[in-house]
């Protein structure tokens, strides 16, 4: 029998649970060999897609200019070149610092960000009807540049994502501070109830966006250590694994915390995101369906309890149940026409949309650029365009989850799952709110919507995912040849 044979009868396909090692060779059928296959380095693919991703927003920009002013916009060449240059720098640094990273994430993020800026610019132009108008596109462009700078910073300075594992509990504290901070700042009228901003003069940040990443570090580090206790110590009851009471502790703490956010900051989105993220990661870490069940029960219970007591949340729920109530002859007190407006916009878009620059987006008069930018996209690009945008998010999330599958270390796996599901949850919450599927929450569409903190934090998120995917896809070091002395140096 050859020493190269993996001669297999039926051995169980390797690594039932978390068998990460790329070099472990599982056996399957009689007459085949299964060998690990390294991922190819896909930097040229990334470059080609990136060129595509820069050209698309430029096309959209030209389209808006032609439709609204009948001429190409003046800044087209300059903005296009600037965006191209930023994307190129990011690409070159990925080439240098994460050569094996996933080829899709950077182009998709660039495309979404570019489309967002164009749409914001287009809404600026419809400006005289928008309340509180200011050149938001320029601000958004500046924030995007800052976001890419942070992306580059993460690329260069985060040598290995496992370093973050050391800061498990520090990141818990940081995340709590970030989450709690806005509650201590005075609420302002134009925030419409939700207290999720920290304002210093004219400058404001939304710490929740950054807390998303920091909290994922904590969840990944914590669950990596505790998952065996959470998964194994349980009783079986009616086909479900019931966790022990003391293991329920962390989920109860996170639940209470997200309820506190809901009560004191009036922010449905943030609290849903954090609780949902925890439940998803708990499920991934332990493979116990019962956690999902508990999570759903607890979030529904919590939401109902808060909705019946807090007026702000109640208004949101009422607007969700009857979005057109605000247009009736005598609208109920505190009703809002936002959801109705966005549904109208989506409906008037139809299948192929009105065309960029030709919609009536100013009719969504509040938050058209931020929370409701999807409504504007739906109107001007139609269902077809909106589906493409959702697919882009789906691809981004899929690449994150693929990274998690390929990652070699358990922390990296959980971390990548967490970041990808944070993105997925956020997209779901926003899109669900805008289309009237779930109550509206005060969150922003990643990359697309106006909002500095959101853009910057999401660029950092993509950078970390790219770093993890680089280490996951990097071909392994060959085992040392066992020919000399004691069999070669152990690594």
């Amino acid at each position: 029998m050859s020493s190269y044979d993996l001669s297999g009868d039926t051995g169980r396909a390797g690594g039932r649970r978390r068998a990460a090692a790329g070099r472990v060779v599982p056996r399957r059928r009689g007459n085949t060999t299964i060998s690990p296959q390294g991922a190819p380095n896909r930097r040229n693919t990334e470059l080609a897609l990136l060129v595509f991703a820069v050209l698309l927003p430029i096309l959209a920009y030209a389209n808006v200019g032609l439709a609204m002013d009948s001429r190409l916009p003046a800044g087209m060449l300059g903005y296009g070149l600037g965006m191209g240059a930023l994307a190129l720098v990011a690409h070159l640094l990925v080439r240098r610092f994460a050569p094996y990273a996933d080829p899709l994430m950077l182009p998709i993020a660039t495309l979404l960000n570019g489309l967002g800026v164009v749409m914001i610019w287009r809404l600026d132009k419809a400006g005289h009807l928008l309340s509180g108008n200011f050149p938001a596109a320029r601000n958004q462009l500046m924030w995007s540049a800052l976001g890419i700078t942070l992306f580059i910073g993460v690329m260069v300075f985060l040598k290995d994502h496992r370093v973050l594992q050391r800061y498990t509990y520090i990141s818990m504290v940081v995340a709590l501070v970030l989450l709690a901070a806005p509650a201590f700042f005075p609420a302002r009228a134009e925030d419409f109830g939700a207290k999720i901003w920290i304002r210093m003069g004219s400058f404001s940040i939304q710490p929740g966006e950054f807390a998303k990443i920091v909290l994922t570090v904590f969840f990944a580090g914590y669950l990596m250590v505790k998952r065996d206790a959470l998964a194994l110590a349980s009783r079986r009851f009616m086909g479900l694994y019931l966790p022990r009471g003391r293991d329920l502790g962390p989920i109860v703490v996170i639940w209470l915390l997200s309820l506190l956010i809901l009560i004191f900051e009036n922010d449905l989105g943030t609290s849903f995101l954090f609780f949902g993220l925890f439940v998803v990661m708990l499920y991934v870490a332990t493979e116990r369906t019962s956690w999902i069940l508990f999570g759903l029960l607890m979030s529904v219970g919590g939401a109902v309890a808060v909705a019946t007591t807090t007026s702000h949340v109640k208004v949101r729920i009422d607007a969700w149940l009857d979005p057109m109530a605000a247009f009736s002859a005598n609208p109920p007190k505190g009703s809002t026409e936002q959801i109705g407006q966005s549904l109208m916009a989506l409906g008037s878009g139809g299948v192929t949309g009105s065309g960029l620059g030709q919609g009536r987006s100013w009719l969504i008069n509040f938050a058209a650029k931020s929370d409701f930018i999807l409504g504007s996209f739906g109107e001007e690009l139609g269902l077809t365009g909106l589906m493409a945008i959702f697919l882009l998010y789906a691809l981004l999330v899929q690449r994150g989850l693929r990274t998690a599958v390929a990652a070699r270390d358990p922390f990296g796996k959980l971390f990548a799952v967490g970041l990808a599901s944070a993105m997925a949850l956020q997209v779901f919450v926003v899109a669900g709110g805008v289309t009237g599927l779930i109550p509206l929450t005060g969150m922003t569409m990643p990359f697309l919507a106006q909002g500095g903190s959101s853009v910057v934090a999401n660029w950092a998120l993509v950078a970390i995912l790219l770093k993890i995917s680089d280490s996951a896809r990097r071909p392994g070091v060959e085992p040392a040849p066992a020919t000399e002395g004691q069999g070669g140096p152990a690594r």
Partner: protein, 181 residues
């Protein structure tokens, strides 16, 4: 702008947007990686010439054992080919239970470090816990690399490199590993 131009631009933009999505999905399709199933060529061909064997593995995407120099390398591989020599390493217990590693004359490192051949996900394992390698005569040997909680062969804690026979359980924390024929 004429209505026609605007319509063409509108539909054109949607088409290009979808083209991007489709190209991205194509990239994913051509980017599948992980394991690759190779139909096995003639076993005897691989067994007779070690060069042929190396070619088989090289075709499999990654040569597992770098082509060894003729002298001692040939001897090792000759030893590995002996009748009755173990051909695989099997994880019998622990979270990785069920995984196997083909023995191809290479050193197998065990530990929590992610670059180990078998990454142990075990609280009682050190990052570089132990290694299993064929010595000059081709005899598979296990050596503890100064781990905290020790490597056990049957009930004995290892203190020096120890020759291994197929079926002897090597225990590291909760993980038990055996050589199999």
């Amino acid at each position: 702008m004429s209505e026609l131009t605007l319509t063409v631009m509108r539909l054109g933009f949607l088409a290009v947007l979808w083209l991007f999505v489709i190209v991205a999905i194509q990239v994913i399709r051509s980017d599948l990686f992980g394991t690759k199933v190779n139909p096995r060529t003639s076993r005897r061909g691989a067994a007779t010439a070690s060069g042929g064997g190396a070619a088989t593995t090289a075709a499999a995407g990654r040569p597992a054992a770098p082509a060894a120099p003729a002298g001692s390398g040939g001897q090792t591989q000759g030893g590995g080919r002996r009748r009755g020599a173990p051909t695989q390493l099997v994880v019998v217990q622990g979270s990785l239970a069920g995984t196997t590693v083909a023995l191809q004359g290479q050193t197998i490192t065990l530990g929590r470090a992610h670059d180990s051949t078998i990454v142990l996900d075990d609280d009682y394992a050190s990052s570089r816990h132990a290694r299993i390698y064929p010595d000059q005569t081709g005899q598979w040997t296990v050596e503890d690399l100064g781990s905290t909680n020790g490597t056990y062969l049957d009930r004995q804690r290892l203190t020096a490199p120890t020759p291994l026979q197929p079926g002897m359980p090597i225990r590291i924390g909760r993980t038990v590993i055996e050589l199999r024929k």
